[in-house]
């Protein structure tokens, strides 16, 4: 019994050393804020990029044969844009996000001093590539009969997409998108390598000051876990409400 008490006393002392003394919990708060800011805006940027790229890629794939019949200026322009999108996907998915972040920080935005913005852009561009392929997969998985039905009802291609295809796509890709967002949230933990004070870096700093590994690492792990659990729960609610019309 006494040993358990001693253990708890040790734990409490460890907790004080790592978070209370010197107000080091403030670092965790600051890190959490930066992690959330980077994740949120990278997510928005990623979704915007992903939607645009997925729209280009899937429209091209679906309409290429029809357009190839009379090769006008539009056909070549579309092929060119599609090529750029493919290049984007290849480069982003073919290189580690850590390397992309370092390139952004030390080469592309070498003269910028807004580190959080640089990290947000780097993660957003990275995430966009994955979101694009998730969405394209969703669009291509919808049966062609749905397109034909839309077209025979008098909708043009864009309207068919908006009113018939996209609602179905959204529902089917939601779990995969949620997965991508979770990955994004955790990936931001490498932002510390370019001096950004994110949650992982905050834990790292505390560890470097108190020389004890347990408390800061476990605390940071728990915070990430709670964030992901909350995110998953929110997506779960959304999924359920989208499924209402299926009953």
């Amino acid at each position: 019994m006494e040993s358990i008490q001693a253990w708890f006393a040790d734990l409490a002392a460890d907790f004080r050393l790592n978070f209370i003394d010197g107000a080091m919990w403030k670092w965790l708060v600051q890190g959490l804020r930066n992690t959330l800011v980077i994740t949120l805006f990278a997510l928005l940027l990623g979704v915007v990029l992903g939607v645009v790229v997925a729209a280009v890629r899937s429209s091209y794939d679906k309409n290429r044969e029809a357009m190839a019949l009379h090769k006008g200026f539009g056909y070549y322009l579309f092929t060119f844009i599609n090529g750029i999108c493919k290049l984007y996907l290849t480069v982003i998915r073919g290189t580690p996000v850590m390397v992309q972040l370092l390139i952004m920080y030390f080469i592309i935005f070498a003269s910028s001093r807004n580190d959080i913005l640089i990290a947000t852009i780097a993660f957003g561009i990275n995430s966009g590539a994955y979101v694009a392929e998730i969405l394209r997969g969703g669009i291509m998985s919808i049966d062609n009969g749905q397109f034909e039905a839309g077209r025979s009802l008098g909708f043009n291609y864009v309207r068919t997409m908006i009113y018939i295809i996209i609602p179905q796509v959204f529902k089917s890709v939601l779990p995969t998108l949620c997965n991508e967002f979770i990955v994004l949230l955790k990936e931001t933990s490498i932002a510390g390598y370019v001096g950004v004070m994110d949650l992982t870096k905050a834990g790292d700093l505390i560890r470097g000051r108190t020389f004890s590994a347990f408390m800061p690492l476990i605390a940071v792990a728990l915070i990430y876990l709670v964030l992901v659990v909350v995110l998953t729960a929110l997506v779960g609610v959304l999924e359920r409400s989208l499924r209402k019309n299926e009953r």
Binding site: V194, G195, D204, L205, G208, F211
Partner: protein, 282 residues
């Protein structure tokens, strides 16, 4: 059911095999594991795939005296300190400054070298003297930043970092920590000094605070930066070897070896080899 049992048994075998491999890697009694951060010339740096420098050579001499085999592990500077305090490595030797705060978690050997903190800036920087950077108090100690927009680059967890990070108070370093005017976001922490210098050169930070000998190496290797002239004596530091708190047996052996190496001139020889006398070794 049979299948399930077979799968479970296979898993058990896998786990035990992994455990076996992990335990194979157990510490050898006759090996002295030294943790360092090999990005801190001339104290330790990589030459090809070998780690060389003052600390590496002194450590080799100590291991020789103790009749042990030296194994050098290259990790982040912060991980050197935590790893030693957690008992993961036998000793840490990475140009580590003795501070009161660190003494609470680890034991330090006798000093084998000293360093001071210096400031590196870009040529043509508005920071031309120390007075452009700091406000000093009546004792001549820096107490706050002249210009609150200044960003300082440091290597994470080094004394340069502790020294600059005054928003978090009382690291037992000096009065600078009492001042709130340097907020944490004025200090940008990089994993290595070289990265901090790269950030300085591209204008991401206005100055880099780091120990003088590595600073000289960085300035020699990079054009367009220089060390701020001026009296930095307020930050003289002792370098020492750290071991896990309470490991007096190893500490005594190290101290004895260090004293012998000092007496026979080995340490001076090693230091002079890496830091030429005219370079102004402190």
């Amino acid at each position: 059911m049979k299948k399930l049992i077979a799968v479970l048994m296979a898993l058990c075998m896998l786990v035990s095999a992994v455990c076996l491999f992990a335990s194979c890697d157990k510490k050898d009694e006759n090996t002295l594991v030294m943790a360092t951060n090999a990005a801190f010339p001339p104290y330790e740096y990589k030459d090809g795939d070998k780690i060389v420098g003052i600390d590496a050579e002194i450590a080799a001499a100590i291991a020789d005296k103790l009749g042990m085999k030296l194994e050098i592990v290259d990790v982040d500077f912060g991980a050197v300190l935590t790893g030693v305090a957690e008992g993961k490595y036998d000793m840490g030797m990475a140009g580590i400054t003795v501070t009161d705060k660190r003494k609470e978690s680890m034991d330090f050997s006798n000093t084998y070298a000293t360093g001071i903190q210096v400031i590196i800036v870009n040529d043509g920087s508005p920071i031309a003297t120390l007075d452009d950077l700091w406000n000093f108090d009546e004792n001549g100690d820096p107490v706050s930043l002249k210009n609150p927009d200044i960003k300082i680059g440091v290597q994470q967890d080094t004394t340069g970092d502790i020294y600059s990070s005054s928003a978090i108070k009382d690291w037992g370093f000096n009065d600078l920590n009492e001042d709130e005017s340097i907020k944490t976001d004025r200090v940008i922490r990089y994993k290595t000094g070289a990265e901090a210098v790269a950030a300085l050169k591209s204008g991401k930070v206005d100055c880099v605070i780091i120990d003088n000998e590595p600073a000289k190496s960085f300035v020699a290797a990079n054009e367009g930066i220089h060390i701020l002239a001026g009296d930095n004596e307020y930050a003289v530091e002792d370098y020492a070897i750290c071991v896990d708190k309470g490991n007096t047996e190893l500490l005594d052996k190290i101290n004895k070896a260090l004293d012998e190496l000092k007496a026979d001139g080995t340490i001076d020889g090693i230091i002079n080899k890496y830091i030429p006398k005219d370079g102004g070794a402190q």
